[in-house]
Subunit: 208 residues, 2 copies
Amino acid sequence: MNFSSKLIEQSVEAFASLPGIGRKTALRLTLHLVNKSPEVTQQFAEAISKMRQHIQHCSICHNLSDESICNVCADKRRDRSLICVVESIRDVMAIEDTAQYRGLYHVLGGLINPLEGVGPGELTIDSLLHRIAPQEQPESEVKEVILAISPTIEGDTTMFYITKKLKGSPVKVSSIARGVSFGGELEYADEVTLGRSIVARLPYKLSE
Amino acid sequence: MNFSSKLIEQSVEAFASLPGIGRKTALRLTLHLVNKSPEVTQQFAEAISKMRQHIQHCSICHNLSDESICNVCADKRRDRSLICVVESIRDVMAIEDTAQYRGLYHVLGGLINPLEGVGPGELTIDSLLHRIAPQEQPESEVKEVILAISPTIEGDTTMFYITKKLKGSPVKVSSIARGVSFGGELEYADEVTLGRSIVARLPYKLSE
């Protein structure tokens, strides 16, 4: 691309450095901002710059937060005996969107992946173990840990590691239910899901 | 979407205000920046904010420029007798990329579109006429105006308007050649292009 302006070129490079945005899209976004008033761009740049400067990880669950303790951990009405362990904050948002869960979270910040050099030390597993069995208190208020992690190789390794670390602890370890989607047609379910959902069948209960 | 952080929400809203970026993509871009160092975001925000603050329209051709006169108009080696009239700066970039044109440009900033309230007054047509026939000089250095405008209803109206305004002027008005693409198969050309390229046929010249 042949830019008549260095400023335009730098703005296009900036946008194109973001994932999934090519140079054509970056130019379209830049020209969009040029056609709007300078205040629009100022507000855009400030929102992003302010977010990055002030964003923190919650010191308890490692979720992204405006304060040092996130609003889930700070909410007194939530069930402190339940911790749902997830890979990233995107999973927290997905579960919160269902409005079905009232416990706390723990964000691992990734999954164990030896090929990419991610060991348990890079994740927040130690912090999770400390939450479940704090040294200061004789008894933990945590009763159950729910593993809401994808059953990939990395996910299975991570779940195995956490479960092994919790062996001997009175805390119950569970995993989210997997099977054919509610409302999903059997013929469109993938083979692994359908196969596993037959192996892991449950007693049929009439809904009340 | 259920945001645990107001800062994240504001950054997502900022990205999602750009054309073609939805809230899911906006979240992905925001989390990408969170995972990089704060300097990356700072540079990103500064590049865009600086661009919008300092960008200008060239006072001669209305192309986007860092200075009050763009580097095409300022280039002494370019042919000042030719002006290529285009709709937007994107067209300037496309023509510059071909490296086939050594004249100057004139960016209209749109096309005449009465339905959307865009009349000749909203475009830079007066400035084009002034460039072609300046009052200060008895004779203009411009010899030819090339209309490189899409043959849509708006484009045709704009070309008609400019041509009519230039009637009686010694300046030659031409339009870029249209027809089946070089290397294009006849069977894949659209009907209008193929039909018009037969009507507008040219004497066949052996290339030397």
